[in-house]
């Protein structure tokens, strides 16, 4: 059987080279050709790139500091290296949820969603971030109190369900494409290990490393 090739280039060799590139050149070479762009967009490539990056980079991942920006930003957890965080543009605004893939310096902002309760005042919102190994889906769960709400994210689009469910019945959303492997998040209050929620006080702000360097 002939080996798979991309632009007459053995795919296995090419993947093994490109996986060793840092985020910037990797983003640039998406322009090289269509098949390259396709390869670089594949979840399996993204996942391998991140796993490799994490294995080789044992640095402090996130540094929290007071006073950076005016709005509190929160980390809701990390799964397989993806980090879920949110921030508000103003006190009354719905949180904007983002997923950060640090090996690609990529931040994915999830589509906004409507709040079935209208005004968010007096409503406490919490998010959970999980991975379903069965389906390889990432799930963002939104809990709103006093009424628990289910937020389903299916392939990049949010669906609100204004149903009341007991917590144990909550099923969740689905989010494919971005994969990763965080080993640790370091915050002022401690270390949050992969797969565990890190919930931080609102006084802490989050340094977003996708800023241009």
């Amino acid at each position: 059987m002939a080996p798979t090739t991309i632009d007459n280039f053995p795919l296995d060799v090419l993947s093994n080279i490109l996986i060793r590139l840092p985020a910037k050149p990797l983003a640039r070479i998406r322009c090289v050709s269509k098949p390259w762009n396709t390869l670089l967009s594949q979840p399996s490539f993204i996942k391998s790139h991140l796993q490799r990056y994490i294995k080789d980079n044992d640095e402090i991942l996130v540094v929290f500091a007071n006073g950076f920006g005016s709005d509190p930003e929160l980390v809701h957890g990390s799964v397989n290296g993806l980090i879920c965080l949110s921030y508000r543009t103003s006190n009354n605004a719905e949180p904007v949820i983002q997923i950060w893939n640090r090996s690609l310096l990529a931040i994915l902002t999830l589509p906004s969603y409507c709040n079935p309760f209208g005004c968010t005042e007096k409503i406490s919102i919490q998010f959970g971030f999980r991975f379903d190994p069965k389906t390889h889906d990432y799930k963002v769960i939104k809990f709103m109190t006093p009424i628990p709400t289910l937020l389903i994210l299916i392939q990049n689009s949010f669906k609100d369900r204004d149903v009341n469910l007991p917590y144990e019945n909550i099923q969740v959303e689905v989010f494919k494409g971005f994969l990763s492997n965080v080993t640790k998040i370091v915050g002022r209050d401690g270390i949050f290990v992969d797969g565990h929620d890190g919930h931080l006080g609102p006084a802490l702000t989050f340094w977003r490393p996708h800023a241009k360097t």
Partner: protein, 146 residues
């Protein structure tokens, strides 16, 4: 008692002999030896003779384990031409010689990471199938990288 020798055959049908205890650094060959004793010639249909000669040179190295990392890096550095490195990476992949594969791929990645798009295409002989508009769309999307 003489050491057991294996014969490897390149894409262009050249034969290379190597002692079995050295050849089994290649996981692919090790598995073949385990399975059937690999008494016959082992064909390597993706590896040309020049590259196979390099691989054999690498497998025959007499390096203390603690110097091995430096050796493989130097070995690859000395063959810093991209076409050679690509062939070497492919051979190391087919033969499953991890350190050599890692070093060869890393070297290529290091070389191309500062290349312009044109230089990447030229070095890897890739045809540009993008229209200027398509290229611009990607540039816009990944503005921070350019």
């Amino acid at each position: 008692m003489s050491k057991k020798t294996l014969t490897l055959m390149s894409k262009d049908k050249q034969l290379f002999n190597i002692e079995e205890h050295l050849a089994v650094q290649s996981v692919t060959i090790r598995n073949m030896v385990k399975e059937d004793g690999a008494s016959s010639v082992i064909p390597l249909p993706r590896v040309d003779s020049e590259t196979l000669a390099l691989v054999i040179e690498y497998l025959n190295r007499q390096q203390a384990p603690e110097e091995d990392e430096d050796y493989v890096k130097k070995f690859v550095d000395e063959r810093g031409e991209i076409p050679t490195l690509l062939e070497l990476a492919q051979a190391a992949l087919d033969l499953d010689i991890k350190k050599l594969m890692d070093a060869a791929c890393m070297k290529v990645a290091d070389l191309i990471k500062d290349f312009t798009l044109e230089e990447v295409r030229e070095a890897l002989r890739i045809e540009n199938d993008r229209t200027p508009e398509e290229e611009k769309a990607i540039r816009d999307e990944f503005q921070w990288a350019f």
